[in-house]
C-alpha cells in the first residue's frame, strides 16, 4: 500500500470575487522512500494541494470540497484536529519557501527546536536540547551549542533553511513536504541545501514531495513528477520519462522555456504564450487550451482525463519507479514535435475558440516570474 494516496482532491477558495477553483480533482500516490516532484507555474495549485494534505489551508477562505487524503490508510480530510496534530511534525513535516519568515523571530532556535521535539516525544528539556545539538550538527551548523541560543535573525538564509530542515526532520517523519525549499536562496546555497535534503531523507528513508518550478531541481532530485496546471495534474510519470518523452503541450512548453547548458547549438527559448485561466470560473474543456498550439476543437469543450500514454490493458501503476506515464491530452505532441517545441504537421492550425468563449487572453500577460525572465532574455 502506498504511504500517501490522494484521491480526487478538490480545493476551493471563497473570495469576494467569487469561488476560486484552486485544485480540481487531483489524485496521486506516493511510496515510502520515494521523491515526487510537483511542478507548475505560480498559482497552479501545487502549494495549495500540499497545504490541503496537511489541512493547513488559510481559513476560512480555503476549504477542501471533496476527495480523500489517505496517509498510512487514515483519511486526513475527515480526521479530528487532535489526531491531525499528532501526525503533523511526527509523521508528516513541511519545509517552506522563505526561510527568512518561517522561523519565529522572537524565539531562540533552541526554544523552537526543543518545543517541537517535546510536543511529540516524552523527553526532558536537556535530552531535547541534546537532540537539537545533534540535529544542528547533522545539518552542518557550526558551533551548534552556542548557535542554539541565537535568534533567527542572526542566521543567514541558507543557515535558516538548514535549521528548518533540522526541525522538520527532528522527529524522523515518514513524509516531508518541501515547498520550494531553495527558491529564496542563492544558487550556490541552493545546491548545498538540496544535497543536504537528499542526504538526510535518503538516510532516514523519508518520502519527499518536492514542490518547485525549477525543472533543474526536479531533474536532479526526484524519481517521479506530477506536472500541474490550473489545479489539474496534466502529466505524470517517472522523471526520466517526462524529460525524455514529454507528452503534454504544457510540459513541452515548460521544457522549452528553460535554457539548457548541454544544448548542441543555441536553441531559441520558446515562451508559453498567454496566461493561465481565470480560476474563478468553473473549468470547461482543457484548461491549457487557450495557450496551446496543439489544441483541436474538442479541447475547448471536453477536458481530457489523465490516461496512460501507451495503450495498456492492465490498470496503471500509480507510484514507484515503474509508474505508468499518463497524460491528459486529446492531441499529444509527437516526439519530433516535442523536440521542436511546436506542431510540425503540415497545415495544422490550432482550433479557434468557439463562439462566445471568454478567455483570459484579454488580461495583462503575467508569466511566472522566472519564465518571463527567460523569455525576456531570449528576446534580446
Amino acid at each position: 500500500m502506498a504511504l500517501l494516496s490522494v484521491q480526487d482532491l478538490v480545493v476551493r477558495f471563497r473570495t469576494h470575487e467569487g469561488t476560486v477553483h484552486a485544485v480540481n480533482g487531483v489524485s496521486f500516490e506516493l511510496d515510502a522512500g520515494e521523491t515526487l516532484g510537483l511542478v507548475g507555474e505560480s498559482g497552479c495549485g501545487k502549494s495549495v494541494t500540499n497545504l490541503a494534505i496537511m489541512r493547513l489551508l488559510p481559513r476560512p477562505a480555503g476549504y477542501i470540497d471533496g476527495g480523500r487524503v489517505l496517509f498510512d490508510g487514515n483519511d486526513m480530510v475527515t480526521m479530528e484536529e487532535s489526531e491531525l496534530r499528532s501526525i503533523r511534525g511526527r509523521e508528516v513535516a513541511m519545509i517552506f519557501q522563505d526561510p527568512m519568515t518561517s522561523l519565529n523571530p522572537v524565539l531562540t532556535i533552541e526554544e523552537q527546536m526543543v518545543e517541537t521535539i517535546r510536543a511529540h516525544r516524552q523527553l526532558s528539556r536537556d535530552e531535547a536540547r541534546r537532540r537539537a545539538i545533534e540535529l544542528l550538527t547533522r545539518v552542518g551548523i557550526p558551533h551548534p551549542e552556542t548557535r542554539l541560543d541565537s535568534y533567527p535573525h542572526q542566521f543567514s538564509g541558507g543557515m535558516r533553511q538548514r535549521v528548518m530542515i533540522a526541525m522538520a526532520l527532528a522527529l524522523e517523519p515518514k513524509l516531508l513536504i518541501a515547498d520550494e525549499p531553495t527558491t529564496a536562496l542563492d544558487v550556490t546555497i541552493q545546491a548545498q541545501v538540496l544535497e543536504l535534503l537528499r542526504g538526510m531523507t535518503n538516510e532516514l528513508g523519508t518520502s519527499v514531495i518536492l514542490i518547485t518550478h525549477d525543472l533543474g531541481v526536479v531533474a536532479g532530485m526526484t524519481q517521479r513528477v506530477n506536472v500541474m496546471y490550473a489545479g489539474f495534474i496534466v502529466e505524470t510519470g517517472s522523471t526520466t520519462e517526462i524529460f525524455a518523452n514529454p507528452k503534454h503541450p504544457y510540459t513541452v512548453g515548460l521544457l522549452h522555456s528553460i535554457p539548457r547548458l548541454d544544448a548542441e547549438e543555441a536553441a531559441p527559448l520558446i515562451p508559453i504564450e498567454g496566461v493561465p485561466p481565470d480560476q474563478r470560473h468553473e473549468p470547461v474543456g482543457c484548461p491549457f487550451a487557450p495557450r496551446c498550439a496543439w489544441r483541436i476543437e474538442r479541447c475547448w469543450t471536453d477536458n481530457p482525463p489523465l490516461a496512460a500514454v501507451d495503450a495498456i490493458s492492465s490498470p496503471p501503476v500509480l507510484s514507484g519507479p515503474q509508474a505508468t506515464h499518463r497524460v491528459a491530452c486529446h492531441n499529444q505532441p509527437t516526439a519530433e514535435e516535442a523536440v521542436a517545441g511546436r506542431p510540425l504537421r503540415s497545415g495544422f492550425v490550432a482550433a479557434p475558440p468557439p463562439a462566445g468563449f471568454v478567455g483570459p487572453q484579454d488580461h495583462v500577460v503575467e508569466h511566472d516570474d522566472e519564465l518571463a525572465a527567460y523569455a525576456a532574455r531570449d528576446a534580446r
Partner: protein, 297 residues
C-alpha cells in the same frame, strides 16, 4: 597589520546576540527624544513615589494665613486659596495620576487584549460580534464615554479607573486583533502548526509574543491620554470624591477662579499634566522606533 585586526570566522554573529530586547535597548539609548521622555517620566515617577518624603508641607491641611501666596523660597510653587503648598500638592497629584493612569491602562489592556485575542484567533462569528461591540465603544468620544461611566457609577477612584480603561479598550482590542489576523497566516505560524503545535501553543507562544511590541507602544502612548483624561474628569468635577485630594485636574478647576490674582496656580498643574503627557508620548514614540524591526537602522 597587527593580529588584532584579524576577525575570527564563525564568531562574527555572536557579537550581536543580545536578542530583541537587547537590540531595542541599544537603539533606544541612541534616540534623543526618547531619552528626554524617559527623563520626564523618571521625574514623574520619582515625584509620585517620593512625595511623602520630599513634600515640604501637608498637601491637604493648609494655613489660611498663607493663602494665595506667590512662589517663594518657603513655597516653591506658591499656595492656593486654602493656603496649601502647591508644590506638595503637585507631588501628591503625581501619585493619583500615575496610579489611576497605570491601573486604567492595565485594565484597558486586559479587557481590550482579551477581546482582541479572542476575535483575532477565533475569527468568524466571535470576531464579528466582539468587533461590533468595540465599534460601539469607539463611536462614542473617549472623554464623553468616561464622563458617562463616572456619572453612571458615581465618583471614586475605581470608577475613574474603569472609565478611563473603557476609553482605551477599543484601541487595544483593534490593535491586537489586527496583528493576530496578520500573524495567523504568517509563515512561521503555519510552520509551527505544520510541526504539530496546538492551537493554544500557537496563540500564546508564537502569535502573542509577536503581537506584543505594538501593544507595548500603544500602552505607553495610552498612558499619556489616560493622564489627560483623568485630569479632564477632575477638571469637569468628576475627580476623586474627596474635594481636598490633590489631583491635577481638580487643582486646575479650582485655580480658574483666581486667574488674575494667582496665575501660577493655573501654570503649575497645567505644566505637570503637559510634561507627563509629553514624557509618555516621547517614550512611546521612541519605543516604537526601537522595537519595530522595519525601522531598524
Amino acid at each position: 597589520m597587527t593580529s588584532a585586526d584579524i576577525s575570527v570566522p564563525g564568531r562574527v554573529a555572536e557579537r550581536g546576540s543580545r536578542g530583541l530586547w537587547g537590540d531595542a535597548m541599544r537603539r533606544m539609548l541612541r534616540n534623543g527624544p526618547a531619552l528626554v521622555g524617559l527623563a520626564l517620566i523618571t521625574l514623574f515617577v520619582l515625584a509620585a513615589l517620593l512625595a511623602p518624603v520630599i513634600a515640604p508641607y501637608d498637601p491637604i491641611a493648609g494655613a489660611l494665613v498663607d493663602r494665595l501666596k506667590g512662589p517663594s523660597g518657603a513655597h516653591l510653587f506658591g499656595t492656593d486659596l486654602q493656603g496649601r503648598d502647591e508644590f506638595s500638592r503637585i507631588l501628591y497629584g503625581a501619585q493619583i495620576s500615575l496610579q489611576v493612569g497605570v491601573v486604567a491602562v492595565l485594565m484597558g489592556l486586559a479587557m481590550g487584549g482579551t477581546i482582541g485575542a479572542l476575535a483575532g484567533s477565533f475569527g468568524g462569528k466571535v470576531d464579528a460580534v466582539l468587533m461590533r461591540f468595540v465599534d460601539v465603544l469607539l463611536s462614542v468620544p473617549g472623554i464623553l464615554l468616561a464622563i458617562g461611566i463616572v456619572a453612571w457609577l458615581g465618583r471614586g477612584l475605581p470608577q475613574i479607573m474603569l472609565a478611563v480603561a473603557a476609553t482605551t479598550t477599543p484601541l487595544f482590542a483593534r490593535l491586537l486583533r489586527g496583528s493576530l489576523l496578520g500573524l495567523r497566516e504568517a509563515d512561521f505560524v503555519v510552520a509551527a502548526r505544520s510541526l504539530g503545535a496546538s492551537r493554544w501553543r500557537v496563540l500564546f507562544r508564537h502569535m502573542l509574543p509577536n503581537a506584543l511590541t505594538p501593544l507595548i507602544v500603544a500602552a505607553t502612548l495610552a498612558l499619556a491620554t489616560a493622564i489627560i483624561d483623568v485630569a479632564g474628569l477632575g477638571f469637569l468635577g468628576l475627580g476623586p470624591p474627596d474635594p481636598r485630594t490633590a489631583e491635577w485636574g481638580t487643582m486646575l478647576t479650582d485655580s480658574t477662579r483666581f486667574l488674575r490674582q494667582a496665575p501660577y496656580l493655573l501654570f503649575f498643574p497645567g505644566a505637570a499634566i503637559v510634561l507627563a503627557a509629553i514624557g509618555f508620548n516621547l517614550l512611546g514614540d521612541g519605543l516604537r522606533e526601537s522595537l519595530d524591526p522595519r525601522l531598524k537602522r
